[in-house]
Symmetry: C2
């Protein structure tokens, strides 16, 4: 069953979001990072961001979570306000 | 640019989540609902759910938002605690 790591940030300007995206697109994922899917959401007006990373298994979640938790705060979009773990209960496209 | 509607719910038991998923999988989307992608997340322990619907355009978001807002509360997973609109700033698979 897939698991999702959902992290919310505040104080994320449009410039900072653009910069992060350029870095992610041009760089490699951290060493040993498990297969995953990332969706980065941004509310430019409220300067809030929600970053959802979906892992295929709970073991992958655990490994990814450890790597992300060890990341220097300067590598995140803004101030982290919450981090939560969810089951991916459903995915659908219409 | 794609937009995401993120709704959080509380009081969502595993049974209720399973029931919702069966309904969604077996049913049709509401009439006139724009093309979209849904990710339903569930924290069974905290009985919390986060439902993310991604629309391809802001017009699609608007139409989808109106339809979802008009839905009877009994068709939602639990008590809605927040609804927020985000730009989809980045998507990545590794």
């Amino acid at each position: 069953m897939p698991f999702a790591r959902v992290v919310s940030f505040e104080g994320v300007s449009k410039d900072r979001m653009d910069e992060m995206n350029r870095e992610m697109e041009s760089g490699e994922p951290p060493e040993g990072f498990p297969p995953s899917e990332l969706v980065a959401l941004h509310d430019a007006e409220a300067e809030k961001s929600l970053v959802i990373i979906i892992f295929e298994t709970e073991d992958d979640y655990k490994r990814g979570d450890e790597i992300l938790d060890a990341m220097p705060a300067g590598d995140t979009p803004g101030r982290r306000t919450s981090v939560a773990k969810y089951n991916v209960a459903a995915r659908m496209k219409s």
